[in-house]
């Protein structure tokens, strides 16, 4: 029936024409390692997320004034010479986020859990800062140690 056909077409066109939200592609860039520096066997070393020299730093760019989810995969230890491992731990305030890219104005969060933050209102940027604690054993093998920290960012 002609009336039925003409009614159906506009409805389909209305659905097809509705614009989906445009979102800037997310960019995640590791800027600085979490650098515990020189350690003595048997002496733990903590790096604060506010340490401008040693704290890890990751820059994020996404849609301005948008919510993003940050998830961090943390190592339980760093690997060193001859298979030696050096324990590393992260506490409830060892991560921080600043939409201004200012290490002095970050909001703390637990890096062991995902967190939702807002990107900068004007440019869509944000910066993640990370601290932690390394605990070499009394008989820790001397040498260089490294561990990988993975940061994943997505829109909710």
């Amino acid at each position: 029936m002609p009336a039925g056909r003409f009614l159906l077409l506009p409805m389909l066109l209305a659905v097809a024409a509705a614009p989906l939200p445009a979102q800037r592609p997310i960019q995640v860039e590791g800027i600085k390692n979490l650098a515990f520096g020189l350690l003595l066997a048997g002496t733990p070393m903590s790096v604060l997320r506010t340490d401008a020299v040693r704290a890890g730093q990751v820059n994020i760019t996404a849609q301005p004034k948008s919510s993003i989810i940050i998830q961090i995969s943390l190592p339980a230890s760093m690997s060193g010479p001859a298979g030696a491992t050096l324990p590393v731990a992260f506490g409830p305030s060892d991560a921080g986020y600043s939409a201004l890219g200012d290490i002095g104005s970050q909001v703390a969060f637990d890096p062991r859990n995902s967190t939702v933050v807002l990107t900068n209102t004007s440019n869509g940027r944000g910066t993640l800062y990370l601290g932690g604690t390394a605990s070499p054993a009394f008989n820790q093998q001397p040498g260089n140690y490294t561990g990988t920290i993975t940061i994943t960012v997505a829109y909710p």
Binding site: L8, L12, I26, G30, M78, P136, T148, V153
Partner: protein, 166 residues
Amino acid sequence: MRTSLKFVLALAGTAAFAAPAAAQITDNIDATATVLQALTVNGDASLAFGNIAPSQIKTVAAGAAASGHFSMAGAPGSSVSFRFNALPATLQIAGLTLSAWTGLHRDANTAAGATAFTPTAGSAESVTMNAADGNYFVWIGATLTAAGVVAPGTYTQPVVLEVFYN
């Protein structure tokens, strides 16, 4: 008309999936650390004044055969400091006074060519451990003055050297 309806449905379906999906993006940073070799220090040789008579003054120079000698070991090429937290004023008894401390230090176990310093209680010397083997050496000397009356006997007094990473 069924043909037209099917065509419109296909277009609608295509348009609905044309927008880009929100992606999750990942990057890595590292956690890094360097564990230093443990520092050790050994007193290898005593500062030996040998025999001294009452009223005698005897000097043993740093680097001499009878001078005191310390060996240190740590991470090759690392920066460390050493110091004497205290230097004894007497050799166990009041009648035997110690003064005019002298010192030498270098990263090889040979006094010739070593750097001279004046051991001072609480004052640290900053040095670099041998780049190859992580060793460092210190020699000390002093002047012993015996009083006019000193009971015969053997006298000893510890001298403690502290070393730490900078």
